[in-house]
Symmetry: C2
Subunit: 407 residues, 2 copies
């Protein structure tokens, strides 16, 4: 497996387009479309929030009833959440417009929205946007990149990744794009993530691969602890690589999962590092755990702690807040056995041993914490399991963005 340029259009047969539909943002593209030359097998994971946006409900039905798709329509600016029956009708109208233009069954068209909750979509603009995008669909890197940019809300940059691997002698690609960057505390899956592959794989294997992998990737990031109403992750496979169809958990399945994991983890980390207002990606790795569940719970508690996040912003090695967050995580461990380290491109430093502070250099610790990607490692000395969670620092800009998001 090797990383290659590109994103959702990297895999064979996938086309993308974007347009400035003027849904809420002015002077930028705010709608994107994905299209596959052949019908795709599709798997999806969605928010566990009880308040589900209309497109989430729509896509859940498409994925479970049909498991097939050929087109996805995405808009940024308005989330189409808390919009009642009207919101559901708008999903249907969107799908109908695609059916009209591309002769695809509307029951197999996926839709996704992100933005302000509670506002209704301007349907004429959505339809005009689709009409504009259809003739523009292209399979090149630029079109994929434009789509990745069009789905951004408060994100500061687009998020894409693609890899190439060989399955049964055939070149297979997996690529994806996603957007953050607030209300990010995925439960099942994150805000919006779209992964495409030309691998030939059965619906059941595709679903299993996705469900298992989101647990270690998107579900291990948090920007602000708020689980969105719109979290959606879609994985489309069109089989155009013509590899032997993956129908069981064989070596090809394992290789495919490895590639999928790289794509998902990369996108998840990009999302965490570009959290609203963030200046640093904050990674927390718990090692020596008695179970994976324990390691996950501990690492997630730390990246979610507002106090720890504020300390990371201040480049302050305030390890007490990390131990404190581990303590209220609900996981059992012995605080008096914990070793804690910070590391980054500027080096590594041990802060505590067996729960008590070492005589470390605050200056060196601050230097390490001044990088744009920092990592805390906690060894709880109870077993062989480990887990990593990704978050970001809590900054003035998070407040700035969210105190005045709607205006």
């Amino acid at each position: 497996m090797k990383q290659i340029e590109g994103g959702v259009t990297a895999a064979k047969g996938f086309l993308a387009a974007a347009t400035a539909a003027g849904i809420k943002y002015q002077g930028r593209k705010d709608m994107a479309m994905l299209y596959s030359q052949r019908p795709c097998t599709v798997a999806g994971t969605f928010t566990k929030n009880l308040v589900k946006a209309a497109p989430v409900k729509w896509d859940q039905k498409v994925v479970s009833d049909r498991g097939r798709t050929q087109a996805v329509i995405i808009n940024a600016g308005i989330a189409n959440a808390c919009t009642g029956e009207q919101g559901m009708r708008y999903c249907e109208e969107t799908a109908k417009e695609v059916q009209r233009l591309l002769n695809l069954p509307q029951e197999e068209v996926l839709v996704a929205s992100t933005g302000v909750i509670g506002m209704q979509l301007p349907m004429e603009r959505i339809c005009a946007g689709i009409q504009d995008m259809v003739p523009k669909l292209k399979d090149d890197i630029i079109s994929g990149n434009e789509a990745a940019r069009a789905i951004m809300t408060t994100d500061t940059h687009e998020k894409e990744v693609a890899v190439e691997l060989t399955l049964g002698g055939k070149q297979v690609r997996v690529g994806g794009m996603c957007k953050g960057s607030g209300m990010i505390h995925p439960n099942m899956c994150t805000m919006l993530s779209f992964v495409t592959t030309d691998a030939a794989i059965s619906n059941e294997m595709l679903r299993e691969a996705l469900l298992e992998d989101v647990e270690d990737t998107y579900n291990m990031i948090s920007v602000d602890g708020d689980t969105s109403t719109n979290d959606t992750c879609l994985l489309l496979a069109n089989g155009m690589a013509e590899n032997p169809v993956i129908e069981e958990k064989n070596e090809d399945y394992r290789l495919f999962c490895e590639a999928l994991h790289f794509v998902n983890e990369t996108l998840a980390k990009q999302m965490a590092g570009d959290g609203e207002g963030a200046t640093a990606l904050f990674e927390v790795k718990v090692i020596g755990a008695a179970s994976k569940e324990q390691a996950k719970r501990l690492s997630k508690a730390v990246i979610t702690s507002s106090l720890t996040k504020a300390a990371i912003y201040g480049h302050d090695a305030n390890w007490g807040r990390i131990l404190c967050a581990m303590g209220y995580s609900g996981a059992q461990f012995d605080p008096e056995k914990v070793d804690l380290f910070f590391e980054s491109a500027a080096g590594q430093i041990q802060l505590i041993e067996d729960g008590v502070a070492l005589d470390y250099s605050e200056e060196q610790a601050t230097k390490i914490l001044s990088e744009s990607s920092v990592r805390a490692i906690a060894d709880i000395k109870m077993g062989e399991y480990e887990a990593t969670a990704w978050g970001c620092d809590l900054t003035y800009d998070y407040i700035k963005i969210n105190a005045d998001y709607r205006s």
Copy 2:
């Protein structure tokens, strides 16, 4: 029952003192002492954080083994948490110094600390502080107020309250003080709260009254979702009011609980409203719930949501974030039946009905949200239960305070 002036020294026989011990802060008092002329029955609730500060462990033992006390020593600046065996020895040395000066058994001396985690206490200064305070102990309002000020860390003002009631023909008083204001997400009890009463009440009744009441008061507030290592609530009763001893759940017990509730709720609200960097107290009341547990879970999810808190700071009626937080709370309800209102001294406004936005005036909503105390009311139309939670807005100053707390 009526509210009166004062705090921990309001009840008969309770004395307080404060001193500038120079533990970490300069130019302010940072140690306080409470003393009762007669031995007190004592009840306490403590943090559920697995990482417990040394004074929490010490006090748990005093409360459970002896259930009696006559003196409490409190310091601000250093939390004495994550300090290993040394930290426990310092609690003992503190108690020993009180024993030496006042001839009280060291096993009945309570200690409490708040401040930075991981640093060791300067023991000579602690002892010097005690020596300075003992001769200054006084039962007047000013001494109580000085104690309330001395225990502050990032609090912007002291927090006190006192009430008077009549039990069996005798005047009884209940008064308290507490401090916040970050790492506030109490689980069992909040950071530091001290309530004194001259009521005569059995140890068992005192304990029951406290344990039940913290669930509806301190445990319903949150500043930042971080459950501290030091949360401690102590309730001291010295019996000097000479009311008939409360030994069962009779009418006197009910009246005492009512007074205790008023004191605890007032202190809890003061803590929430003075959360780090806060500009507003944010109260969320969920009504029409099928159970109290459900109402609590929903209201706490909303006051804990970073996005909602940032919107409150921006005076932005971003109700979608409130519904979203209710949705991920884990409580079951029908989002399409929710009515939501905002209210404050500037009036009341309904924003959504049956889950969908009304055509309300954003201008009026912003006016209502511009007060220093704002309330959201969500009616979920499922039953007769309700609950209230208290939090605060999330502001630039929260970041400022916590990005650089230790320096």
